[in-house]
Every structure is written in C-alpha cells, then in structure tokens.
C-alpha cells in the first residue's frame, strides 16, 4: 500500500503508568499502520497492554497513565500533544471509539436520541430536522428501529445497546472506528450478528476499524491483519489468515492451541503453561521465554526485536534464525549441533 492509503500511523508508542512503587511500562515501543478501510485486529491476554494502546491511540489516557514516547499520526497530523479542544474537532467526526461496556458508556439518564443530538451538536449547528434525519439513518444502518431513539439505555437489550453505540460512532461517518471488545458482554449468537453488522457497515461506508479482543477466533473471519500482543509488545503482526494457518511466534501458536473446537476430533489440549508476567517484573530477554516450550539460553539474555519473516513481523530469535522445531532444517542449529 502506498503512503496515501495510510490513515493512521503509530510510531514508537510507549505508555507508562506512574505508580507509588515506580513506573510501569504498559505499552513498549509499538509501531503499526492502518490503511483506509482496513480491519486490524489486536489480540492478547488481560494485562498485555491492548486496551492501554487503544486509549493512547485515541488520546484518551488519563493519570496515572501517560504517553512516554512516540507519535500517532492520523490523516497526516500528529495527535500527540494536541489540546482537548483541538482533539474534539477530530473526535466523533473523523475518529470514534466504541467502548467495551455499552451499559457504562451510554448515559443512563438520557435517551439514545438525546445522546446522538449531543454528539451532532458538538460539530456544527444542525437543525432539529437534520438531527432527526441523521439519527434515524444511523439507527437503521445498525438494524434498530428508529423508535428506540426515544428509549433509555436500560430499555434496550445488550446487543441493541452495543449496536446503538456503533450507530453513534457512525454519526459523522468517520474514517476510523476504534473498538475495545464491543462484543464481550454478548452471547455467541448476538456476538456473531454484531460482527457481521460491523463488517457489512465497514464494506458499505469504507471506514477503517481497529478491533481489540482477547478472543482470537472471534475475529478470524473478519480482520484483514492481526496484531498479537504480549507483555506490552507486539509479538506478531501479519495477515490474519496467514497467522491462523501458520502462526510464527510460539505464543501465537500456544494461543491457537488453547481453543477447543466444536469440529473435528476431541484432542487433549495443553494451553500455555504459567501466567502472563507482572508488568512490574518483566522477564529479561524475550518476555515470553519463561512460558515458551522452545526457549533456549539465548532467549533468556537477548531481548528480541520484531523481525520480518515470510512477510510477517515476529518477535522471536529462534524464528529469525530458522531454528524453531517446526522450521525446515531446524534440527540443524546454527552451530551445527543437532537439537530435537
């Protein structure tokens, strides 16, 4: 893709939490781009920094979190360092955010329609008629009867609340919608319906989506590219289908093997041993090495970079060298000794 297609460029982004016991780096040197109309999935376990990253991109960080380094270039302008006033010109209009819990994100004492009106009036002076028309329009887009503009959040089901959040995010047909686990409170059927809806809207209106989730299988059919995060860093970044078919990082492999399936034979699964690290005590070397079945001594000492391998980016020393057990020729380590 050429530069002109890039709508968002995040470069060297780091976020620190300033706590009494010291600073904790929750997001560490993250760089990625999002193209116009692209669907980028970000997956990782709790505490891996995926939500913090998202907040940093949307410039929503609040104390004790603060941006330690990096730039967020959205449509050619760096969002970092902008004042709230400057940011509010961008928010809703060009970039909107859908939060995890619609129950908490919607104002419980205002009707849905009144909240839409607030957002619309934040950018310009639309007439009553314009507000009514646009509000009804976005409600229809997400498949809710516009009569529910008069409803209060508690009168709607969980799925409808999430869909009205998405409707609100689309009031100005932004170029980028950031979504933080918008489906995690829903049942599988409602979840699938919402995913199909998001994809359909995206194809119709051409906005880009950054979708954060802990459930890799959920976005397997919907995202174009996938970013796997572990302990505040990108572990793997590549085309979604490729990652599912041929995961390069041992952590991604472990995650994929941790999902039981409803199809195929019932096979015993192992998951990943151990627990995600405490971000105050990040392991030296590769951050995944204490849990990695393929870790060798080098992994405990050298912190790996993101290396390009087969068109993807992967943070694994052994993958870079081609010495992971599933690599061709892996039994021959670099020094010529044979490992199994």
């Amino acid at each position: 893709m050429s530069e002109a297609h890039e709508i968002l460029e995040v470069s060297g982004l780091s976020v620190d939490y300033v706590l009494p016991q010291g600073e904790i780096r929750a997001v560490d040197d993250v760089s990625f781009t999002v193209d116009r109309g692209e669907f980028l999935g970000i997956v990782g376990e709790s505490g891996c920094g995926k939500s913090t990253l998202l907040f940093a991109v949307a410039q929503l960080l609040a104390s004790p979190a603060h941006l330690a380094a990096g730039t967020v270039t959205f449509k050619g302008a760096n969002l970092v360092g902008l004042t709230d006033k400057q940011l509010s010109a961008v928010r809703w209009r060009d970039l909107s955010v859908v939060m995890q819990s619609a129950m908490n994100a919607l104002n419980p004492v205002k009707s849905i329609g009144a909240q839409f009106k607030d957002a619309l009036q934040a950018h310009g002076k639309p007439s009553k008629q314009e507000i009514a028309t646009r509000s009804a329009e976005v409600m229809r887009m997400v498949g809710i009867d516009p009569v529910h503009l008069k409803s209060y959040p508690h009168q709607l089901s969980g799925g409808m609340r999430q869909r009205s959040m998405i409707a609100m995010a689309m009031l100005f047909t932004p170029d980028l919608i950031i979504m933080d686990e918008p489906t995690s409170a829903l049942d599988v059927v409602a979840q699938r319906a919402l995913m199909m809806q998001i994809k359909e809207l995206q194809q119709t209106y051409g906005f880009a989506v950054i979708f954060v989730t802990h459930d890799m299988s959920l976005i397997s059919h919907f995202s174009d590219r996938l970013m796997v995060m572990y302990a505040g860093q990108i572990d793997e970044l590549g085309a979604t289908r490729t990652i599912f078919d041929r995961p390069l990082h041992p952590y991604t492999q472990g995650l994929l093997e941790a999902f039981p399936s409803i199809h195929g034979p019932r096979v015993p699964l192992k998951g990943i041993p151990g627990n995600p690290p405490d971000m105050a005590l990040v392991p030296a070397g590769c951050r995944f090495h204490p849990r990695c079945p393929h870790a060798i001594e080098r992994c405990t000492a050298i912190a790996p970079d993101l290396y390009p391998v087969d068109g993807d980016l992967v943070r694994c020393l052994r993958r870079k060298d081609g010495t992971l057990p599933d690599d061709p020729g892996a039994h021959l380590a670099q020094d010529g000794s044979v490992t199994l």
Partner: protein, 328 residues
Amino acid sequence: MTELLRAEHLTRHFKIGGIMSRRTLHAVDDVTFSIGEREIVALAGESGSGKSTIARVLARVYKPTSGEVYFEDKPLSAIRSRRDGLRYSSLVPMVFQDPFASINPVFRVQHGILRIFKLHRPELPARQRPEEAARVFGVVGLSTDMLQRFPYELSGGQRQRVGFAQALAMRPKLILADEPVSMLDVSIRIGLLNLMAKLRDEEGVSILYITHDIASARYVADRLIVMYAGQIAESGPIEDVLTTPKHPYTQLLLSAVPDPMAPLSQVTDRGEPPKVVDPAPGCRFRWRCPLAIEECSAVTPVPAELLPGHEVACHVAQTGADVRAFAS
C-alpha cells in the same frame, strides 16, 4: 450409570416490579434432568436462560417454586436440620465465576481450606489438617507453599484452582461450577478444564459445568443440556447433540460459535433474548424459529427422546422431520 442427582419438573419463578405488581419472571420452568456419578454435565445457554438459577436451586440458595430435586434419591425439601444442610453443601459445593471475589482477601489461602475441615470434616484430627490441605492442593496442581499466600498474590488461574481445592476439601460428590473459566485468560482456561476432567477421572467427582461456551463444554463434558428461556431445548450425549443437533436453537447456537478453521456460516438471527415475564403457552423460541408451525404458538413443547438418551423439545423435530433451521 448410577444416578446421583435428579431434578423433576423444577420450576423457579420470581416476582418482579413493585409490591402491587403481579408480574412473574419464569426463570426456570418445568425442567427435568439427572446427573450421574462420575459425569460432567454441561448446562449451556445464553444469559438469562436460567442456567445460574438452576445452580442456585441445586445449591439450596433458592427454594424451587415447584418441582423437586433428589440427591441420592432423597428429596432436598426433606432437609430440615442445620446438620443435614451442612452435610448436603459439603457433598454439593459450588465454584464461582469470579475467582477475585470468591476468596476472602484478608486471610491466607489455607484459612478457607482449614475452616472447611473444621466445619465439614470434624472426624479429621486437627493435626492431620495441614497434611490433607497439602494433598488437596496437590490434586488441583498448586504447590504446598501456595497455602501460605494471600489471594492477591495469586493469578486468576491459581485463584480458580484454590476455588476447586476448597470444593474438593469437602470430599464432594458433585461440584456446581458456574462459568468457572469465563473470567480467565484463554491460555489459562484449558488448564482448568483439564483439572475438571481429572477430578472426574481420578477423584470420582461429578460436575455440573455451567457455561455459554459450547466448545469448552465439548472439551470436558459427557452430556450437554441446552437451555432456552428457562426451559430445556435439547439434551443428550454431547457428541450426539453437537453432530446431530435436532432443536433449531441448538443449531443456531452452533452456527454462531466462532471457529477459525471452519468457513464462516451466515447467521441472520439478531440474537435478541426472549421475554420470560408471564409467558403465554407455546414454544418460547418460535419468534426466532424459521420452521415454526401453528402448533408451536399454542402448545409448549415437552422434551421427548428421539435418539437414545437424546431428548428434544421441538414440535417439528418430534414429527420426525429432518430439522435444518440453521446450517452450521
């Protein structure tokens, strides 16, 4: 298989609204099922389908509105004394969804276990308690030194193992596990599911595994009960139900399970949950069902055995028709 617990026509209603309100929420309606010895039964369904209400009735938190639960052929309504009540709760303990809220944060982890020995196993001499606690911790895969830790020092997966250790300390016959892995990280879940299978295979415990995650149910359970709007839609040996689902709702549920390795099935259903406040007779799934016939809006379907051990509450399926409401 020897039957351990049997629920017959179990019904639990809740009054809702103000004191003048006559509206009733039918959380569980006329539900009959059994759990055998050394069996993991998965109870699946969407939120509000009555799964947790059933667990709470089985744990004697709620009294049933009507119907009866038999444990080892004795009715729960016959439990009167505190002693019998304690005995039952030690045979049928619960493991909760949130491991961060279900362990007392001000005591060391061993406190809960030792207290269980004191309350529920008075025959165990006090000096043997630490040894037994260490044994129980070993079974759930925790090291003995964890006993001295405080809950905040443990990860979510370790805390949930403590939850199972507390249940196991009572020498239970049936563990009621209400969404025990849904709050844990994906990489940790499998370990807990493997632990549940181990408890069944090595300790001979039965488990009622309440979940909305069909794939994890298939991984550990022997039998599956699918709930919809307070009633059982379908039940049977889990592989049978998953390979030949007969109820349209089960088919819908299966078609919506995300599976990266399978092609994406088209689901048109919106996933709107049903209202179960003062429901009229008839099938509660009929508004979402593409196959609904006239009978469905008049008569509430009752589960009938269509294949060995495989019961379905659907008028269309019971006519012998090949039900294909939603492709998976």
